[in-house]
């Protein structure tokens, strides 16, 4: 490990004028926090994770804080854990910090009260993010920090990357002096992820700002057995109140302290802040009060408006708590007549949002002038909703109107409660001195990275200011990205997306067929198309695009980026090619200098990865300029081909109006009335989103197929389906429709394996698993990846026809087999998960087995994102409109949430049975049948449903109040199966306490842990499921400790069904485990090995990796069934054989292990040897466990309270 000086890499250690650097808000803040902390306790949460990750990386490479020690960065099991650790470190006298957002901050709240109540200096840096309400949102607003404003923490708000860095330091300085702990916050994504050019801060400035005597005082207050004290007492009515007031002077002093630190900072850096920064006309009449990134946007408008003679201004609130009334009032011009206070949060039921109420109260308490200004309050920018200059103009117009409304919303159309103001989107033109560029790319093509580099090159190598911001769609596979770049000789404070671009790069040409990407192009703008069609590109553009190019007189250029990249040996990464083209076409830098700069940047980025990668990238740079050419443009539209419909005209009304608008990137225009009031959405919508992202799709060859159905089982996207239909049903099939003989008793059945060509992601898992090879040419299998384009029209027709064929009758299927399960309709289809996702095949299988009667509690994580991130959901319904009912509560509470569902459903079912029992004398045999039937398989469920239909008929014919009540609940006479689904971050870490409690209750619920062994959703952070020796974030040197054995913990209860499965290792075992788990009348846990792109593997072979994982004993397969113990058998059954492959052999096939072996062979060797010992030991343990006899039968305990299991409600089906 190299030990660098403090921030040696950033050159901040020295003195002299600080260097300008291009960083995002997270990095800017982390660079301060890491240098002034000794303990950093963190937990990953978007969008704050990078602050923790960077800190960990820096500590890992030995970067020192300003006092010469390496901060100890520790990842905890939750934000609550991080806050507790922070509290402890502070009480020990250390300087400590943490980073968080959203629910994470909420989980810290109990400790925040403590830390503040004990007057402990600390700073928590928050990338402010929306708190989940009717929906989760990863984006930015102030609802999280506003939920912590009552804790006693001081709150300091930053509105830009520069401010985020500077106020981070001011917060650390202020907390030491005031003893009041601080929340320093800035807008999630908009500031945390915006890359901007800022003036860095030297170590010398940090040292000057943090006084040794204050640090010594903090240490002197610490818990120390040499000077013992008692802290954290329990107080009684006699003194608690007085003691609570005793800290008042400290809170009252905070504003003065902060201003003093701001002034000191100004004297050191020249950048002056105030607790309330007024900007604008000295005698303004109309003033906006705001905090966060929106302030920059308002300042832009104030500049333009005052130049136009309008007396307007803005107060940017930095120190929000404690709220200094005097300073606030003093910041306002005496001439102020009307104030608009804009809050980036919503407090339902309040008179107004918090900043508004504070403003009104402050004015009421102390406005020193004659006429107290009128105040209106507005909400804006929730969940990173765009907040543009045009909207600001709208606010000023509302203020200036004859009767401004007291409460408004900004940026939406509220056609329900009519709070929104009007604004003219065209009322604002971005200034001429700013060069603006927008790049449309795909998530995997490197556009984002290239755009970031472009901004860095310009920002660092020219006097220009630069800004880069990135927007992603909601998908993990084939996601579309939009990069927004600005360059200007003036500082850039525009915290909103580029609206009029001088340069538009379309790096993924097919997007033009679906979306309006050129709306953003300014007249005369340069357009760069990455096209495989070369000189013929024009003819491949839809009419709308040709129209815009002609009408706006765009200067269009074409390059085949993929060809240039391929020629240089870079497969899919077109970043370097397109970055070079941008510089070639823009005049930001002379071309030679630009190319040199691009090569320098390549050297910086890839230099450590060896000369081969460097050379390939250099070749693409040289190849790019040569391959760039002007698009031949006839000056008129030459095609009548229009853009594709975003959703089919046959889609339901809601999908057309609402989902369709979101898919077309027009969701911002949807009015309030279009949206559900309670966050409830229809399922089955992914089928309408024909993304068509694959370049190759699997094509079935029935001649070779051996009917194993594995292709369908493993398809992560349910894009391969199997049906068996009578031959006669195919009479009207298209000629292209393929089918083959199916062996059954009728002798007249045909089997079809069909791909959904527009829903396939081209991951290739199906081909990889297919065991049937041609005898003539072994590379030809029963299913083969082939270029999509020649097959598309045919396969679309085939798929449409396939959908018209009947689904199999579930009562006739052997669902506990691979084939049988695959003939059942999946009710989880076409998710936006990563291509080749290892999780989704399990979910799909789950829905094939029980989908028509399951309720899913889904922990936050990948599965809640590909499962429930709008616009569409993969959870769908069968022909009877039955299907999984799905909800995501939180990350940490999923087990409890699922348990609650179980309890509620059981009570409702019991109520139905009770009503039925009371009506039995009148209903007769039918009621007895409904009450007494064993409902434990598809046939008996179908029979019960028939009886329910009959019951409804009887109830309709015999109306009674009780009958009506029963009718409403009758469907519950088929028991609902509750499935609690989540990843390892939930099950092993943040939700483990709840999961453990759930298992202890003995209730009849099923838990499916999709174990990717890492926090996949937030970008690969270590969890307690991460195996020893694997590299992950927070385990950069390879995880030093063994994976937690969750299955063994669950087995210890004795009444919990536990299965460790890996579909790719033993498909039948997986199917069997799900069936047994569902049938087990107590808690069951299935831990499902789920390969992930965070493993660093070729996902097309993810099933092969599972097989190797099992054969090496890395992932042993087993099922522990307590019911076996009831009949005197051993509970644990090992389903995989004794390991035959050394761990290292398996490990070296995966990047997560191989990376460490390459980077640090000796450490990795030791870790791998330890991992092998883990495997050997665990296998030895399991072998002994197989022989273990337990004497306490879980059933004996449970039978004492039958009610726990829902009381005779046909529990067999669950």
């Amino acid at each position: 490990m190299s030990v660098a000086g403090p921030d040696a890499k950033t050159g901040l250690a020295g003195s002299g004028p600080p260097r300008d650097v291009m960083v995002d808000g997270n990095e800017a803040v982390a660079k301060i926090a890491h240098r002034v902390s000794e303990v950093i306790a963190i937990y990953p949460i978007t969008p704050a994770s990078p602050m923790g990750e960077l800190s960990d990386a820096w500590s890992n490479e030995g970067r020192l804080n300003i006092w010469g020690s390496v901060p100890d960065v520790i990842e905890m099991q939750s934000e609550a854990g991080a806050a507790g650790t922070l509290h402890g470190a502070l009480q020990a006298g250390a300087l400590a910090t943490t980073f968080t957002a959203s629910q994470g901050l909420l989980l810290m709240i109990p400790n925040l009260y403590k830390v503040a109540g004990e007057l402990t200096p600390a700073v928590i840096h928050v990338a402010a993010r929306t708190v989940a309400t009717h929906a989760l949102s990863i984006f930015g607003d102030h609802s999280d920090v506003m939920a912590a404003r009552q804790t006693g923490m001081a709150m300091l708000a930053s509105g830009s990357v520069q401010e985020a860095q500077d106020l981070a330091l001011i917060a650390h300085a202020s907390t030491l002096r005031s003893r009041v702990p601080f929340i320093h916050f800035f807008d999630g994504f908009r500031t945390s992820h915006e890359v901007a050019k800022i003036a860095a801060v030297h170590d010398a400035t940090l040292t000057s700002m943090l006084d040794d005597d204050l640090i010594a005082a903090h240490r002197a207050r610490a818990l120390d057995p040499d000077r013992p004290v008692l802290r954290g007492t329990a107080q009684n009515p006699d003194v608690f109140f007085q003691a609570r007031e005793a800290a008042n002077p400290f809170h009252e002093a905070v504003p003065t302290v902060v201003q003093a630190e701001m002034d000191r900072f100004a004297s050191l850096t020249g950048r002056q802040y105030r607790c309330f920064d007024y900007y604008g006309h000295p005698t303004a009449t109309d003033v906006i009060v705001i905090m966060g990134s929106g302030a920059g946007t308002v300042r832009e408008v104030v500049d333009a408006s005052t130049a136009a003679g309008r007396a307007v201004g803005v107060v940017e609130v930095h120190l929000y708590r404690p709220f200094d009334t005097t300073a606030f009032l003093a910041s306002l011009p005496a001439t102020a007549e009307r104030l608009a206070v804009l809050d980036r949060t919503k407090e339902p039921g309040a008179i107004g949002e918090p900043l508004y109420l504070d403003t009104v109260a402050a004015l009421a308490e102390g406005w020193p002038h004659l006429e107290r200004p009128t105040v209106i309050g507005g909400r804006y920018g929730l969940s990173s909703k765009e907040f543009t200059p045009a909207m600001v103009l709208g606010v000023f117009d509302e203020l200036a109107s004859s009767s401004p409304r007291r409460h408004i919303t900004v940026g939406i159309v509220d056609d329900v409660t009519h709070t929104s103001i009007d604004f003219d989107a065209d009322a604002w033109s971005e200034p001429d001195h700013v060069t603006r560029a927008v790049f449309y790319g795909l998530g995997s093509d490197g556009t984002v990275g290239a755009s970031k580099n472009t901004a860095r090159i310009v920002g660092e190598q020219t006097p220009l200011h630069a800004q880069a911001y990135f927007v992603y769609d909601s998908k993990k596979s084939g996601s579309e990205t939009v990069s927004h770049l600005r360059f200007s000789p003036e500082p850039i404070q525009s915290a909103y997306l580029v609206g009029q671009a001088d340069f538009v790069g379309v790096h993924h040409l097919p997007a033009l067929d679906r979306l309006d990407l050129l709306d953003v192009a300014a007249p005369g703008a340069t357009l760069l198309l990455n096209s495989p069609f070369g000189a013929g590109t024009w003819e491949h553009l839809p009419a709308e695009v040709q129209e815009v190019i002609v009408a706006k007189e765009l200067e269009a250029w074409v390059i085949d980026g993929h060809r240039v990249a391929r020629a240089a040996g870079l497969d899919r990464r077109i970043n370097t090619v397109l970055q070079t083209c941008f510089f070639a076409l823009s005049d930001l830098l002379p071309q030679d200098q630009a190319i040199e700069a691009v090569k320098d940047s390549i050297t910086k980025t890839y230099g450590r990865q060896g000369p081969a990668v460097l050379e390939r990238n250099f070749r693409t740079v040289d190849g790019a300029v040569a391959a760039l050419h002007r698009l031949a443009n006839p000056g008129e539209v030459t095609t009548d081909r229009r853009r594709d419909q975003v959703v089919a005209a046959s889609a339901p009304d809601f999908v057309q109006r609402v989902t369709g608008a979101m898919l077309a990137n027009r969701g911002d225009l949807l009015p309030v009335s279009a949206l559900p009031v309670d966050g409830t959405f229809p399922t089955g919508t992914s089928a309408f989103e024909k993304r068509s992202i694959a370049n190759e799709i699997p094509i079935w060859d029935p001649e070779i197929c051996i009917d194993c159905a594995r292709c369908a089982l493993v398809c992560p996207h349910a894009a391969i389906r199997v049906k068996v239909v009578p031959r006669i049903a195919l009479d009207d099939a298209p000629v292209s429709f393929r089918h083959k003989e199916w062996q059954d008793e009728t002798g007249q059945s045909r089997e079809i394996i069909q791909v959904a060509p527009d829903d396939c992601t081209g991951c290739g898992v199906c081909v990889s698993i297919c065991p049937a090879k041609s005898k003539e040419m072994v590379k030809h299998k029963a299913i083969n990846m082939e270029a999509k384009r020649p097959h598309l029209a045919t396969e679309r027709a085939n798929w449409d026809y396939f959908l018209t064929l009947p689904e199999s009758d579930r009562t006739t299927l052997k669902l506990a087999s691979i084939k049988g399960s695959q003939l059942a309709q999946p009710l989880f289809e076409f998710s936006g998960a990563c291509a080749g996702c290892g999780e989704t095949p399990y979910l799909k299988l789950l829905t094939q087995l029980f989908g028509d009667r399951i309720v899913v509690a889904n922990a936050t994580g990948c599965s809640s994102i590909y499962g429930g991130n709008l616009p569409t959901t993969p959870w769908t319904v069968d022909d009877n409109s039955r299907g999984p009912a799905w909800a995501n509560s939180l990350f940490e509470d999923n087990a409890e949430f699922g348990l609650g569902l179980r309890l509620g459903l059981d009570r409702i079912a019991e109520r139905a049975r009770s009503l039925l029992r009371s009506l039995t004398p009148e209903i007769g045999e039918l009621a007895r049948g409904l009450l007494d039937a064993d409902v434990d398989d598809e046939a008996t469920i179908a029979a019960q449903r028939d009886r329910i239909t009959e019951l409804r008929g009887w109830l309709a014919d015999n109306p009674s109040p009780e009958g009506q009540r029963l009718a409403a609940l009758a469907d519950h006479l088929v028991r609902r199966s509750v499935w609690i689904v989540g990843g390892d971050g939930w099950a092993y870490d943040i939700g483990f306490g709840g999961l453990d409690h759930l298992l202890a209750t003995g209730r009849d619920v099923n838990v499916l842990v999709l174990d990717t062994e890492v926090y996949s959703n937030t970008g690969g952070q270590t969890s307690k499921a991460t195996p020893r020796a694997a590299v992950a974030k927070f385990s950069a040197g390879g995880k030093p400790t063994a994976k937690k054995d969750l299955g063994m913990i669950a087995m210890a209860y004795g009444n919990v069904y536990v299965a460790n499965v890996a579909m790719g290792a033993n498909m039948t075992q997986t199917v069997r485990a799900m069936a047994e788990a569902a049938a087990h009348p107590g808690p069951s846990v299935i831990i499902a090995y789920s390969p992930c792109i965070a493993h660093g593997i070729d996902m097309s072979d993810m099933m092969g990796h599972q097989k190797l994982a099992a054969s090496s004993g890395y992932w042993p397969l087993y099922r522990y069934d307590p019911r076996r113990e009831e009949v005197g058998e051993h509970g644990l059954h090992l389903d995989s054989r004794k390991p035959t492959v050394p761990f290292r052999e398996f490990a070296m096939t995966e990047g997560r292990f191989a990376l460490s072996a390459q980077a640090n062979p000796e450490v990795a060797g030791a870790l791998m040897a330890a991992a092998q010992r883990d495997i050997d030991d665990r296998w030895h343990l399991y072998e002994q466990m197989v022989e273990v006899e337990r004497t306490a039968r879980y059933g004996l305990v449970d039978d004492a309270d039958d009610d726990h299991r829902g009381g005779g409600t046909g529990s067999g089906d669950d």
Binding site: T447, G1019, L1155
Partner: protein, 334 residues
Amino acid sequence: MTDLTTSYLGLVLDHPIVASSSPLTGDIDHLLDLQANGAAAVVLPSLFEEQVEHEAVALEATYEWASGMNAEAHGGYFPELDDYNTGAERYLDLLDRAKAELNVPVIASLNGTSVGGWTHYAEVLQEHGADALELNVYYVAADVELSGADIERQYLDLVEQVRTRIDLPLAVKVGPFFSSPGNFARQLAAAGADGLVLFNRFYQPDVDLEELTVAPDLVLSAPAEMRLVLRWIAILRGRVDAHLAATTGVHGADDVVKLVLAGADVTMMASALLRDGTSHLRAVRDGVSGWFSERDYESLGQARGSLSQASVADPDAFERANYMKTLLSYRPPV
């Protein structure tokens, strides 16, 4: 006792038994073990152009492929490491340690198939103190568009290119598949090879009958494979201006003796050491020493080439194909 000292590439070795490039020479512990068991010199495993490129590209893909894919995993899925220690760095570490801890000569080995930026590694290996460089031209001529002459030209270009870059003694290790191996050997020497290592063994593919896949794996050499080497060492002795190293099929003391008699300056062992352990080297050395001593040879120089084609009574025996000999030896029953 016979003086077994031999000279190879200007290096004076105690005896003619060198530990050839193999997994055994890939870590310092085994290298020390080989030295302790009497290896006269060691050849490190090849720094493979293809492997180094593959590792670097795979590393780049691991980091780049998933970065920027979605908003929550904006920066990709793996932590940035301080040092990725790509192939060449790891190799240089091994060379540094070998040079620091071994007393016997350390011959670095470089595998490349083409002239390019790649050849700069020859200079790097020289800078890191290798005593000599073995250029391991491991190339299967699978491109049916390329003629034998094209391929030979590539080899020669490569040797010339490397020769211009380094002052170190340079050996070239090639396979036997040339139309005129002897003539080509002379061309290699003319291009700058100080020594020839005969012959490279290629990994040969196998077929997995269960999976119907091609399944290459490592098969250790068999003693009979030494015969091919023996023939060409004998033919080239005295006819090519380069040292001759015999490799492939060198398993026991008899093999070493035969090869020296045929004209080898050194012999190189790998398979037998992998199979029987490094102590086998000591046994072979003792066996060789015994063989020459028992027959009162004063030095190895006396014996070297004494059974070369130029030195034997029946030089045709090295040229005759086996079936000819069989036919000629055949005597019909009376």
